[in-house]
């Protein structure tokens, strides 16, 4: 209540603002921008932050312009968009399942997308675009399967998580099989894809992600208030006039689309979807799904992770998925321990 401010107009319109959440969002955007500038400046041809900003704004010499706007900017934009999609998708999953573990990493969506991608690589030796399409289909099919298995009549507690763990076990086995039957070139390509990497991303990957976000983000945020009501249980939300089943189906389809598209673009970058909503929540200290802060947190996390992997290991030596995996894994362990202490597991 303390940090909530209502802004009212004489015409009877009113908007409720959570000041703290707003500040968190602004700071995260600032951090994401700062990390992006640093990331663009990092590489075989280091460019100073001032030059990067000048070049982004249209100045700078042709050489810098090519490196910044053609080579590195698309990669950073893909990182930002993938992070944003994963953060928002994760927040949606966690809010709907009312469980911090109910996130796409645990549910096997990443493994599903991987299965789709590996099928294309190993069985059809497909092109990069075909691999992306395969990953997208794999993720969407997995999402649908989980929905059908776990979602009927609402999800409660760990049922979704258990179904998801089962799904990822099966899919991991499928992926293992595909790797063993593949030749060495395809296997190497598969393994790189499976770690989640941002290297070599260009404008072709940016546009579909941007288009998807432009449609889904407003749609999802428009349903944020209904989702907030659903936190209190389906019955309470229903009694307050939320069409629970409809909102849930809509948000789940959005979450699966966001996650599957992000995974198709950058590979299964692990744990961003799990950690971003939780970190955002700790910063805003506000109940509710924290959708916008989670989105910003996801974007920031991924850019920072990519920058640190380049800084620590050199340009394109270490896929970003390794960094998020290590950081996220530690976080997951901490979460399990603290949930256990709180008596929830």
């Amino acid at each position: 209540m303390k940090t909530n401010r209502a802004v009212r107009t004489p015409g009877g319109l009113s908007v409720r603002l959570d000041v703290r959440a707003l500040v968190v969002v602004l700071l995260l955007l600032l951090a994401a921008f700062g990390a992006s500038v640093l990331l663009i400046g990092t590489g075989d041809f280091p460019i100073s932050a001032g030059d990067v900003v000048r070049t982004l704004l249209g100045g700078g010499d042709p050489g810098q312009d090519f490196i910044v706007n053609e080579l590195r900017l698309p990669r950073v934009l893909v990182a930002l968009l993938v992070g944003a999609c994963l953060g928002l998708g994760g927040a949606l999953f966690q809010a709907v399942s009312r469980n911090p573990l109910g996130s796409p990493d645990i549910l096997g969506l990443g493994q599903g997308a991987t299965a789709g991608a590996l099928t294309v690589i190993v069985l059809f030796s497909g092109s990069a675009n075909q691999v992306t399409a395969g990953a997208l289909v794999g993720g969407l099919v997995t999402g649908l399967a989980i929905y059908l298995l776990a979602w009927k009549q609402g999800v409660h507690g760990y049922r979704l998580v258990l179904v998801g763990i089962g799904m990822s076990a099966i899919l991991t086995a499928v992926n293992g099989y595909l790797l063993t039957v593949s030749d060495i070139v395809d296997a190497a390509r598969s393994v790189v894809w499976m770690t989640g990497s941002l290297s070599g991303r260009d404008w072709e990957q940016v546009w579909p992600l941007l288009a998807l976000c432009a449609v889904l983000v407003p749609l999802v945020l428009g349903n944020a208030r209904a989702l907030r009501m659903m936190e209190m249980g389906d019955d309470v939300a229903g009694a307050l006039g939320v069409r629970v089943e409809r909102v849930r189906a809509l948000l789940m389809v959005s979450a699966v689309l966001l996650t599957a598209t992000a995974t198709a673009a950058a590979g299964p970058v692990s744990f961003v979807a799990l950690t971003a909503p939780q970190l955002a929540r700790r910063l805003t200290r506000s109940p509710g799904p924290n959708l916008l802060p989670s989105l910003c947190m996801g974007a920031t996390l991924l850019v920072v992770a990519d920058w640190s992997s380049q800084r620590l290991f050199g340009a394109d030596q270490m896929p970003v998925g390794v960094v998020t995996g290590v950081v996220g894994g530690v976080y997951l362990l901490w979460l399990l321990v603290s949930e256990r202490r709180a008596g929830r597991i």
Partner: protein
């Protein structure tokens, strides 16, 4: 509003809320068939019956949480399932058994969420919302807890907060599913007193499912006794609560005496010896 003209006319005209020949089922398990119930306007109706008699199921159907597989529930003459969800939510409130207080939410915030059906994307928090929330918290005696976290409260306080949230919805009809469960006797009476007050001073129509027959007989103005998905008896507690009815509905031999405090029927179960001898 149409409600005022129909005051005290129990069955003669159409009441605001009723169930018409409804069949209620979860998946394939049928709980009640061809069940018809009228909720008299401005009454404090209490639904009683043994476990698994369908009382909570009936309440869920009346509050459109459960769609009848046959028949329909009528609210102000319209089938409730076909009405816009928010419109229903401005007329009929529900306090369900299963409610989850989100982590780290304050009392004021939780009560404020009751305003959802009155809000829209461009009308998120009006001065009216503010006023109603304050008033609801005052009526339920939780105003001084407004900035406290809901997880820190005792069971009795928490139930008051949930009732405050339902009040903030400002509905003429309020349905409560076992509002006294898990509370000790003092808080049970406390919650029921609050319900009676809401009914008497504000003329709200209340419908509650209660386990305790004596509480039901004391507080209800209209009692509905269910067994096996059928209405066995309904009416004012003084008119319908008899030893025969209790035996028929609950399978319990008992005496009915007059409650020395209120003059309502009081159920005194027969001594164990008398009951076992009869068997």
């Amino acid at each position: 509003m149409s409600g005022t003209a129909k005051k005290n006319t129990k069955r003669s005209t159409v009441n605001r809320l009723s169930a018409e020949n409804v069949t209620l089922a979860y998946d394939q398990r049928v709980i009640a068939e061809q069940l018809s119930v009228e909720i008299p306007d401005n009454s404090f109706t209490v639904i009683v019956g043994p476990n698994a008699c369908g009382k909570s199921t009936l309440l869920r159907a009346l509050s459109r949480m459960l769609r009848p597989s046959r028949g329909r529930v009528l609210l102000d003459g319209q089938a409730i399932q076909s009405m816009p969800a928010k419109k229903v939510a401005r007329t009929l409130g529900l306090l369900p058994q299963s409610s989850v207080a989100p982590d780290g939410i304050t009392v004021g915030d939780l009560v404020g969420r009751g305003r959802y059906p009155h809000q829209g994307i461009l009308r998120q928090w009006s001065t009216e919302d503010e006023r109603v929330v304050q008033e609801s918290m005052r009526q339920t005696g939780v105003a001084e807890l407004a900035d406290r976290y809901v997880d820190e409260l005792s069971g009795g306080q928490r139930q008051r907060v949930w009732i405050a949230m339902a009040l903030a919805q400002q509905t003429p009809l309020l349905l409560l599913d076992e509002p006294t469960t898990y509370l000790d006797i003092q808080h049970q009476i406390d919650v029921l007193d609050l319900c009676a007050e809401l009914h008497e001073t504000q003329g709200r129509t209340l419908v509650a499912v209660l386990h305790d027959l004596n509480h039901a007989a004391r507080y209800a103005t209209h009692l509905i006794a269910l067994k096996g998905g059928r209405v066995i008896a309904e009416g004012a507690p003084n008119d319908i609560v008899t030893a025969e009815l209790v035996e028929e509905v609950f399978g319990l031999r008992c005496q009915i005496i007059e409650d020395p405090e209120t003059g309502t029927p009081l159920v005194v179960p027969a001594a164990r010896k008398a009951r076992t001898a009869a068997r």
